[in-house]
Amino acid sequence: MASPSEPSAPGAGPAVEARELVRRFGPVTALDGLSFAVGKGELFGLVGPDGAGKTTAIRALAGLVELDGGEARVLGRDPAAGGGAFRESLGLMPQQYSLYRDLTVEENLRFFSRLYVLPRAVYRERAARLLAITRLERFTARRAEALSGGMYKKLALACALLHEPEVLLLDEPTNGVDPVSRRELWELLHAFVHGGMTVVISTPYMDEAERCHRVALVHHGRALAAGAPRALIDGFEDEVFDVEGGDRDAVDARLAGLPVVIAASPAGARLKAVVARGGRPEVERALGPLGARLEPATPDFEDLFLARIREAA
């Protein structure tokens, strides 16, 4: 696997760069100084809930929205300035990807290959490969409108990958997609990144942060945290515990009343609690009478997100 910490080739800048991006829509500030840089061959994630500014950021990188401040660079250029050769090196899969609903899987792929003016032999070879990894081979004759949500997203991704862009921007390709298809989409992306492609992907699923080389957790148009997933988790400053024993509903109600408890979440049949540093004794005193105790647990990205928005508030 390409190591994200390796420096880029000498003299080469980042493949994608966002510097202090600001964009307002009337009274709403969609981007509020968002910055990040993505190295060549890196899989970079913008992770955050709806309304965090992810879509606006992706659109800014694709040169589709004007910025009120800051600048975007893709392969060293202003994406809004464009240019034919530059366009060819950039791929975009927007959130509402428009396939031709009355065309079949194969017809959609062929249509996009013509759009990119791919030689027939190249198209045949790439289409066969993409259909195999998306496991859509059996469905080439099915019309796009008859595909399930997950299959539709996979076809959209295949169409966006056909011309093998150097940089691929993906806006929430896994949103609303079931867990099995989500996994397959990520495996597909990793295969292409392994081949040298640079990918910027947005997702509302916090757990998908772990599948990226580096991520920015985005909230209210800025990054709450950014870095390699493991480094972010290792640097987590609050504490996370599994709650052992006790009635789950009673424990949940008790935890909700404790200010040192940042969040409680279901963890299997038990609960997991994010506790502000140093708050453990207080929580244990409160849970003791309920027959519950705390066991240290590993934080995940949702815990991190919950802790950081609490700090930011």
């Binding site: 955050g48 059996r138 079931d178 599948r211 997933p229 409680a264 590993t298």
Partner: protein
């Protein structure tokens, strides 16, 4: 013994030659939180559309809140609340006015309407936002407003189709607290979600694949039945180097990347966490830690739905 809140017997729906829902039978008790899971296109939404009286079954029958969905769909609609994936709200209206509008559509008026609106605001934890303009509210609050509008007529059963999609983690927790309060108050909740962690709050879960209901039980029983192996969670550096060595260890059934680490499915007790640590160290991985993990509902989902391309089903 009270009648179940939902009872489906051999419920089926065909579209031309395609069978979207295939002889599905189950019961949901009054006050139960019932999770309905499955891959995209497995037949979940079609089932919900039949149970809510929006789509006639091709075969079989279902009773919801005591009414027959095939014979008396209008009575079903009056007895249930339904929050669809694409709900619509009037964005230029305040929260309270949206609820008054929907209450009017249910035939409520005057003092009765005002009281029901207040009650729904209270139940969805929206009292402090009653006068806020809907369009300026974050997605998670709008979702709660959509829920409140589905509760106005005090339905005995509510259907929630992916109510938390895309919502931030704080709002997701608030939403589930409300769902659990509804259930404690006796309302039956039928819910679909792709967030398998929150599905742990369901008392029972039905899993759909290929239009069939292939598993139905409590989360704990589903894990015992579908994931009999032990799950070992591995963390460390340069784990990729040891992946082949792990796969070759006796007792290892599967090695899969899981977040930044690996998840191993192994026979009970074989190999031990120590065996795994040793194999990885020999292969050149560093900082290795291995822990026994409780199977997650995602493990169950993958076991039930992920085999044989069962996820590849059209709607």
């Amino acid at each position: 013994m009270t009648a179940p809140a939902i009872q489906a017997v051999g419920l089926s729906r065909r579209f031309g030659a395609f069978t979207a829902v295939d002889r599905v039978s189950f019961e949901v008790e009054r006050g139960e939180i019932f999770g309905y899971l499955g891959a995209n296109g497995a037949g979940k939404s079609t089932t919900i559309r039949m149970l809510t009286g929006l789509l006639a079954p091709s075969d079989g029958e279902a009773r919801v809140a005591g009414r027959d969905v095939g014979r008396d769909p209008d009575a079903v609609k009056a007895a249930i609340g339904y929050m669809s994936q694409k709900f619509s709200l009037y964005l230029d209206l305040p929260v309270r006015e949206n609820l008054r509008f929907f209450g009017g559509a249910y035939g409520l008026s005057g003092r009765d309407l005002a009281a029901r609106v207040d009650e729904a605001l209270e139940r969805a934890d929206l009292r402090d936002l009653a006068d806020a303009t809907t369009g300026g509210l974050p997605g998670g609050v709008r979702q709660r407003l959509a829920l409140a509008s589905a509760l106005l007529h005090r339905p005995a059963v509510v259907f929630l189709d992916e109510p938390t999609a895309g919502v931030d983690p704080v709002a997701r927790r608030t939403f589930w607290r409300i769902i659990r309060e509804l259930s404690r108050g006796g309302t039956t909740v039928f819910v679909t979600t792709h967030y398998l962690d929150e599905a742990e709050y369901c008392r029972r879960i039905g899993l759909m694949a290929d239009g069939r209901l292939v598993a139905l039980d409590t989360p704990a029983a589903l894990k015992r039945a579908w994931v009999p192996e032990t799950i070992l969670a591995v963390r460390g550096r340069d784990l990729a180097r040891g992946q082949a060595a792990l796969a070759a260890l006796p007792g290892v059934k599967a090695v899969a990347p899981f977040g930044a680490g690996l998840h191993l499915r192994v026979e009970p007790g074989r190999p031990s966490p120590e065996d795994v640590t040793a194999a990885l160290a020999a292969a050149g991985a560093a900082d290795v830690s291995v822990a026994v993990a409780e199977p997650s509902l995602e493990d169950v989902f993958l076991a039930v739905v992920g085999r044989g391309g069962a996820a590849e089903v059209s709607p």
